[in-house]
C-alpha cells in the first residue's frame, strides 16, 4: 500500500428521508486501498449512509469529502463520474436488458476519450476474469440470472465505471452460503488489487473477516469503531452482532 491517504471522509453527517432524520452526526473515514465495513442491526442506517455518500440522498448536515473534494449534496450521476460506485440494496439491474448491455451501461459515466474503447475492452476482460459466469451469459437478460449471478453482475457493472471507491450494500443478501463465500472471495481479490471498498453487511463476522476496519452503527450513530480484529474481539460486538450471546445462552 502507498502512503496512506484519505479516500473518503464523512464528517458529522446527518441525513434521512424527507422529514424523517435517520443519521445523526455520523463520522467515518476510509483510506486508500482499505476495506471498511459498516455493521449494525436492521434499520441502523447503514444503507442510508451509503446512499448519502453516493449522492442518492443529500446530507442535511455535515459534509462528505471524497479524495479531497467536498461532494456533499452531489447528484448520483455526478458521484459516479467522480469515481464512486454504489452497488445498491436490491441490485437495481436493468432486468430486461442483456448482461452485456448492463456492463456497457456500467461504463456510461466514463469519459469518451480516445482510449475509451480499449480501456472498456480491458475492463470487460478483467470483469469476465473475475466473474467467468457472466462471460457465458453475455446475451442473456439480467432478469433470468440466478440471485448470485445477479449480485455478481451488479458488482461487475459497478466495476465497469472504474470506481476509486466501491460501495457495497449487503452483497450477501438472500444468497446461499456457498455463493456468499464465492462473492467474498472475489471481494478479497479486489482488495488485493488495491480497490477501496466500503462494505455494508448484516453478517458481522463475515464482514469483519474480510475487512481492515469497521464501524458499528446503531440508530443513526457510530457506536463503536476499530480495526477488524479489535471489533471481532470486542465483547459487545461478540454478544450483539456475532451471536456468541445466543450460543452461550443455548449452551447453558
Amino acid at each position: 500500500m502507498t502512503e496512506a491517504r484519505e479516500m473518503l471522509r464523512v464528517e458529522k453527517v446527518s441525513s434521512g428521508y424527507g422529514h424523517v432524520g435517520v443519521l445523526e452526526g455520523v463520522s467515518i473515514h476510509v483510506m486508500h486501498g482499505e476495506v471498511v465495513t459498516l455493521i449494525g442491526s436492521n434499520g441502523a442506517g447503514k444503507s442510508t449512509l451509503l446512499k448519502t455518500v453516493a449522492g442518492v440522498l443529500s446530507p442535511t448536515g455535515g459534509s462528505v469529502v471524497f479524495d479531497g473534494r467536498d461532494i456533499s449534496g452531489i447528484t448520483p450521476e455526478k458521484a459516479v463520474e467522480a469515481g464512486l460506485a454504489l452497488v445498491p440494496e436490491g441490485r437495481r439491474l436493468f432486468g430486461s436488458m442483456s448482461v452485456g448491455e448492463n456492463l456497457e451501461l456500467g461504463a456510461y459515466a466514463r469519459r469518451r476519450s480516445r482510449s475509451f474503447s480499449s480501456e472498456f475492452a480491458e475492463d470487460l476482460e478483467i470483469v469476465h476474469e473475475l466473474f467467468p459466469v457472466l462471460g457465458e451469459r453475455v446475451d442473456q437478460s439480467a432478469a433470468t440470472l440466478s440471485g448470485g449471478e445477479q449480485q455478481m453482475l451488479a458488482i461487475a457493472r459497478a466495476l465497469m465505471s472504474r470506481p476509486r471507491l466501491l460501495l457495497l450494500d449487503e452483497p450477501s443478501l438472500g444468497l446461499a452460503p456457498k455463493v456468499i463465500s464465492e462473492i467474498f472471495a472475489i471481494l478479497d481479490r479486489l482488495r488485493s488489487r488495491g480497490v477501496t471498498i466500503l462494505l455494508v453487511e448484516q453478517d458481522a463476522s463475515v464482514a469483519l473477516r474480510h475487512a481492515d476496519r469497521g464501524y458499528v452503527l446503531r440508530t443513526g450513530r457510530v457506536e463503536l469503531e476499530g480495526t477488524a480484529s479489535e471489533l471481532l474481539a470486542n465483547d459487545d460486538v461478540r454478544m450483539i452482532y456475532l451471536g456468541s450471546w445466543k450460543k452461550s445462552v443455548s449452551g447453558t
Partner: protein, 294 residues
Amino acid sequence: MTGKDLLQFIVAGLSSGALYALLALGFTIVYASTGVINFAQGEFYMLGGMLGVLAFDSLGIPLVFAALLAILATTAVGVLFELLAIRPRKDGDPLALIIITVGGSILIQSLTRHAVGGEELATLPSFSPGPSIGIAGVTIVRQSLWIWGITAVAVVGLTLLYRRTRFGKAMRACSIDRDGARLVGIDTARVVTASFALAAALGAIAGVVISPTVPPVFYSGASIGLKGFAAAILGGLGNPVAAVAGGLTLGLLENIASGFISSTFKDGIALVVLLGVLFVRPQGLFGGRSREKV
C-alpha cells in the same frame, strides 16, 4: 361489400393506421421515460401541420424546407414544454404530470387559435404530385406512400436508437429503473427531455405528412391524440414495433368497421378498443406477459 371494397378499406385503414402509429410512438417514448401519458401529444401533430402550411403559404418557403422547419419548431416546443412544465415538478408524481399535460394541451390549442385563427388552413401540395395509383382496382393516393415510408423509417430508426446507441440504451435503462439508471451515471432528466423532443418530432412528422390531404386546424390534435393513445395502449406501451402494430390495427379496425357497419361508428371504434384493451388485456395486444417498456 365486395372483395375490392374490402381491399380499399384496408388501404385506407393502413394509411390512417400509420398516422396513429406515429402518434402512438410518441406516447410510448414519453411513457417509457416518465411513466406518464402525455395528453399534449396530439398538439404536436396539430403544430406540425399548422407550421408546415404557414411556412409554405405565408412565408413562401419551399415545401421540403417548410416541412423540416415545422418539424424542428415543433420539436423545440416539445423541449420547451418539458423544461417549463414537466421538469419543475421534481417528484415526478404521475397524476400531477398527467394533469400538466392536459393543461399543456389546452394551452397550446388556445394559443394556436389566438395566433392563427379558428379556420382550417389550406392544404400543402402533395409531396410527389401525380394521379393516384391503381392496383387491382384499388386506389392508393400518392401521399399514402409517403406516410407508410416515413412510418417505416421512424420505427426502424427508433429500434436502432434503442438497440444500438449508447443514448438509446440509456433511455431503456431509464425506463426500466430510473434510480438504477442514475447510479450508473445516466442523467435521467436529459433522457426525459430527449423523449419529449422525439415525441414532438414524431407528432409533427405525422402532422406535416397528412397536411396535403387534411387541412390543419387548431383543434385537430384532440381526436388524433385520442386515437394515438388508443393505438399505444393497444400496442402495450412497449417497444416501437408494438406501437406501430397497435396503430395499424386500430386503423384497420376503424375502416373495416365503418365499411361493414356504418361510417358513423368510425370515431367510436378507438374508444371501444381503448376500453376493451384496458378491461380485458391491460398489457396490450402486443405487450407480452409483463409490461416491458421500450
